[in-house]
Each structure stands twice: as C-alpha cells, then as structure tokens.
Symmetry: none
Subunit: 205 residues, 4 copies
DNA sequence: GATGAATGAGTATTCATTCAT
DNA sequence: AATGAATGAATACTCATTCAT
C-alpha cells in the first residue's frame, strides 16, 4: 500500500523522504476513508507498513502530518490548475475554466477531493490559497465590466461554498457533469451574468 | 447554569423532563463553545449540574443527545420561521423572507447558529427538514414563472450552502445586515432573477 | 494487599477515601521496594487492586500521589515524635531523644524509612518540616550554653545527613542500636560536647 | 561542544578514543545539568555531535557510560588529591587537608561535583574508593592517639555524608569557604577533637 | 567505525460506560 | 431517578536498541 502522490514524488529520494512520503500517502487515504477526526497515528503507520514509533521520527503530531498532506495535495492541484490559464483573457471564461478544472482535478483523485473537503474547515490556509486566484479573476471581471458585484471576502466564501457543494455531491453520488455545469452557471449568475449568458459560457464541451 | 431553550420548554413538567432539559441545554452550550468533536459526556452533566451517571438515565450515547438537541432547536427555528408565511404569495418574496428570517433567528441565539452549523455535516436530517419548505417555494416560483431553474436536490444544497455561509460568517464576525442582503440577492440571481430585480426584492427594511 | 497506614486511617471513611488510601499505601510500598524513579502508575493501581484509570479519579500525576504519601507519613512520624517531648528540658537530651526516636519510628516501618530516604532529595518540604523542630532545639542548647555552635541552615543539613546515614544503613543491614548510639554521639560531638559527655548522654537504655 | 576532561585526555589518541571521549564528556555535562534519571542516549550523542547509533559502538548501555564517566572523573580527583599528601604526617591535618582539597577540586569543576553527587547513590564503587584513603588516615589518627573513635564502615559513611553536604550546598549556593571550614571542624569534632583544637586546625589560610 | 532511520515495547492518559448505593 | 466511584479499552507518545548502508 505504498503508492500515492507523495510516493511518486519521492521516487529516487533518500530513505527518509520515502518513509515520510509513505506516511503522507497513508494519511491522505485514511482521511479520505474516515475523516480527519477518526485519524489515528497507529493507523497511519500501519497503513504505511511501518512501526508506530516511526511516525514521531518525522512529524510531531497529527496536525503536522495533516497540514503537510493537505498543503502538498493543494499545491499539486494548484499546479495542474494553472496550466494554460494565461491564454484565457475573458474573466467569465477564466472563472468557469478554473471552477470546472478544479472540480475535475480533485474528483479524478477522490482521496484528494475528500481530503480537501475535510480540510477546508480546519485548515484556513487551504481556503486562503484558493481565494487568491479567484479574487484576481473577479477583479478582472469587474474591470472588464462583466461582473456586477463588489469583490469581498464574503463573496469569495460564497463561490467556494458552491464549488465545495459540487465536489462533495459528486464525491458521494459519482461524477455528474451536469452538476459541474450547474455550478458554473450558478456562479456566473451570482456574478451578475444573465441566465442565457451563463448557460452559453458553461455548456459542456 | 440551567437556563436555556429546553429548560424553558420544560417549565412545569415533571422532574425527569427538567433533568433531561438541563442536559440538552448543556449540550447546546457546549457544542456552541467547542464543537461536536470536543463534546464529552462528563462536561454535559457537569455543565448541567448533575452527576455523570445521570446522563445514561436519559440518553444512550452522545449521538442521541446531540440529535435530540439539534432537532429540538431546529423545530423551534422552524416554528418561528413559519409565522405569517401564509400571507406571502410571491415566491421570490417567500424565499427572501424565509432566508432572512432564518439567518436572523439563529443569529439571535448564537448557540443555535453554532449548533446547526456544526450539525449540518453530521445530521442529514436537519438538512432534509429545511429542504422541504424550500423546495415547495422553489416549485411555486417555477409555477409562477419567476424562477428559471430546474428544482433538484443539488440546487437545494447550493442554496443551503449559501445560507450556511451567511450564518457562519456573521457568527464569527458579528451581525452584518449587508451580508444577509447579499445572500438573498445571490440566491435570487441563482434562481434566475436579474440583478436589478434581486436588488429590489432584497433591500433591507 | 490493602493494609497500610492510610488504609487504617481511612477506616470508616467513604469509599472514595478508602480507594484513595489504597493507592497511597500501594505507593508507599512500591517506592520502598523500587524507589521513586521506578514507580509506575499501573503498578500503583495493580498493587491497590484497582483498574488503571482509577488513579486519575484521585490524583493528577505521579508527583501528586508521591507528595501526598510522603507528607502523610511524615506527619504521622512527626506526631509520634512529639509525644512527651515537652517534659524534656535539657537541649542535648532533646536532640538525642528526637534523633533516636525518629530513627526507631521510621525503622519500625521500613517502608516509611525507605520512602522518606527516597523523598528527601526530591521533596524539600520534608526536609524543611524536620528542620523546624531541630532548629528550635539547637537554639535552646545555645541559650543553655550547652552547644558551641552557630545555628544555620548548613548545620541543620549536616545533622539531617547524619540521621539519614543511620536510617539508610540500618535499613540495608538491619537494626543495630550501636549505630543509633553512634549517630547521637556524633551529633553531640558536632554540637560541641566532649566525647565523654556525648557518650554519657547517648548510652542506650 | 567537544571540550572536557576526557577530550583533553584523549588528545593524540586514535579516533576511536576521541569519539569515546566526546561521549564521556557529553555524559558528564548532561548528568550535571539534568541528573542521571533524565539522561537519554540520544542526548549524549547529540551533545557529542555524533549520530545516535555511534553510542553502541562504544558502550553497551547507559549504566556503562555513566560508570566509566564517574570512575574517570573520580580517578582524576583522586590523582589531584594525592599530591604532596605524603609530606603530611599528622592524621588530623591529613583529614582536614584531604577534605578541603576534595571539596575545592570538585567545586572547581561544577560538572564533576554534580556528577559525583548524583553518582554516590547509584555507584557504590565511588564511595568505596574514597573510603580507602580515608580509612587509612583514620587508623593513623587512632594509632597517633589523636582520634577517639572506632574505625568502621559506618563512621566512614558519616564523614562522607558531611563532605557531600558541603559539596551539594556550595554547588547550589555558590562557593563559601566558611562551609568548608565548618565541615572540617565538624569532622574533627566527630573524631573526638575538642572544638578548640578543631577550630585551630581548620582555620582557612 | 560511523551513520541515522526504523523499531516496538513500555508508559501515561483519556473518557465512554457500568453499577452498587 | 440520581449519584459518583470504578472500570478498562483506546490512544498518544517516548526512547533504548538494532541494523542496513
């Protein structure tokens, strides 16, 4: 049970890094299965095929391993999200593209989706990271005269909540492109676009 | 430390009911303070001024007391919410009124807000109850030709998520009527109203 | 394995006090057997015939139970030591009587001797208590013109060290009245009495 | 952090000896700082600037390194103590000189003092070594008709206890020549000298 | 020899639950 | 019904020791 994102990333690294990666991957799997609250240190090491004491050679406590796992996954999602975004200029298109991509990226790795869903409440850092990009696109849309809104932290929370609904819903019930479309439309409507414009911009490939 | 919603409701009832009420109120206060995960049985009885063993004379475990507390609060919120709703016919007005009222009712008792926020993840029943009323109003709006949507469970989740954002945001940062207005507007926009119509219907008294 | 000083003292008290006493007695026995460093919580409860968790219903940690056990024993020793001391006026006789009695009292209960020996390093309070009485007798002897010394904390430490040597030596090798006599003589010599006077005052009954 | 008695002694020796010396010095420093009970293997190697596994290339366990460190220090103290002792014939003078020197030697290196103080309880060997020299001087004093005592193991323990009081007191409160004087006087009084003779022989330079 | 990561037995501590009073 | 002491399984964490590199 050693495969996983951190394992892949630690290929060729020294033993310490590979052991660490095994525990990070185990953490991701376990949080996805049972949630953060039910995460136990012994489960992590067992899932990673290690002795319990090994955990403390690498992390000082549960929070530390959780934070590192979540930030690692978030960074990877962020990396995949950024691809070719510079080519898109139109703010509504940027928002739709980012939203759809984010949803698809995390649902392609359900463990990531589950981890990030669990993490948003406890790890404000995750939310903050995501907010940076989104805020820029919202301001771009205002500047382009496309969004009829005032950019605020509260608005960001609203949009992120809608995205979270899309992810958690599909995580439970399976992939459903219509829900992703509907999420994009809802966001654009919230931002002031007409239902017709929103529909047009969100129509799946 | 015996006052609280359940205590009031048990005025004049027999001793068993009053003891039970004390623990329910204690549960509400403690969940509001520290969250569900940190809730301990001994804390409940101590907060209620009772001996720890008394808990098991009334509840079989933590989930039971939590469920009963949350449903009790939810029923009361629902009761307050219903007042005079029959006089409102216009679907968008119904949605706005219900949303605004709900937010104000729970924020008037921050412990209720905190409990319901904590509870939505773990107690699907809460969500389902709220959905009933909302679904009816959405269908009414479709029938009236005011909403440009398809009513679905997913749409209900989206709207409830926006309401939850409003509640949790104001629970942390203090009451802010503009956030409530903005939430109502966002919901109406999502439902297909124009920004102008949404604005008009949501302007605070 | 419930008999012991604290058990006797808790006769007729409520269950809580009796359980507490059982753990205090267990602590005394275990420290006497293996020393303070080797004391484990589980050993205490096992020796007391209780479940491990019970410890924490009564004490917050090892230090607390140790302190309470040591102070309880010390208070009892002190109580036994005081008997009829008011009848003795002559300072050298007081010192000799107190020294001899102390040694005999604690050696009559070897566990007490062992506990107090172990405790002196870690529990300065024990040493301080003993010092009070001794200091008074030394000052009396100076006032009576019998001791050729200056009373100081350092002098008290010297005398207590000699007493400790007597106790620990007899604890290991068995009772030996000559060592007690020799200790009394050494103390009187240290205080300025001639060897002849010291010998005379210390001759065992 | 490599300097220390064993480091100096291993100058010019092979690497194995120097590595060993680094751990012995680290042990001395750590015991002085925190006591024997709190000594951890990893702390020793870290303090010595080595990898933890290295410890077991040189010592089989904690007791071994402690014993070697203590005996090494004790041998050095003994060496310094012996200088010019052959020139002193008078037994009381020998005892006073040895006592004063011992106290000054160990307090000149507070780590040594702390180590030896910690060690006396657990390492009977240390006590035995010291006893050899002292016993000879006591017997000399008896033969010279200067001491009014019977030489015994118990008497040796008494004298060593007084020396230990002097060392630990000054270790805590700082050097105080009067305490050393007082210790010498107390020992001579114990050995049967008159207070006046004791005073005369112990007056500090 | 030195390294340092891994090991796992040992120990402390918490807390839901039981039950005699 | 209420009490509150006792229970013991669950869990976290430490650290001496081993061993492959």
């Amino acid at each position: 049970m050693n495969i996983g994102f951190f394992h892949d990333r630690a290929q060729g690294a020294n033993k310490r890094q590979r052991t660490r990666a095994a525990m990070l991957d185990a953490t991701v799997r376990l949080v996805a299965q049972k949630g953060m609250a039910a995460l136990r240190i012994n489960d992590i090491t067992e899932e990673a095929g290690l002795a319990n004491g090994t955990f403390y050679n690498h992390f000082s406590d549960k929070d530390e391993v959780l934070l590192e796992a979540a930030l690692g996954i978030a960074a990877e999602v962020s990396r995949q999200l950024d691809t070719d975004m510079t080519e898109i200029d139109d703010a509504p298109s940027r928002v739709v593209t980012a939203t759809r991509r984010f949803i698809n990226i995390v649902l392609a790795e359900p463990d990531w989706a589950a981890l990030l869903i669990s993490g948003t409440e406890h790890l404000p850092q995750l939310r903050d990271d995501a907010s940076q990009y989104l805020r820029a696109d919202l301001e771009r849309g205002v500047a382009q005269g496309r969004f009829e809104i005032e950019v605020s932290g509260f608005l960001l929370k609203q949009i992120l909540a809608l995205i979270q609904v899309a992810v958690s819903s599909q995580l439970l019930a399976g992939l459903d492109a219509r829900q992703t479309d509907q999420t994009c439309e809802a966001i654009l409507r919230m931002l002031g676009l007409t239902p017709a414009d929103a529909r047009r911009l969100c129509a799946s490939a």
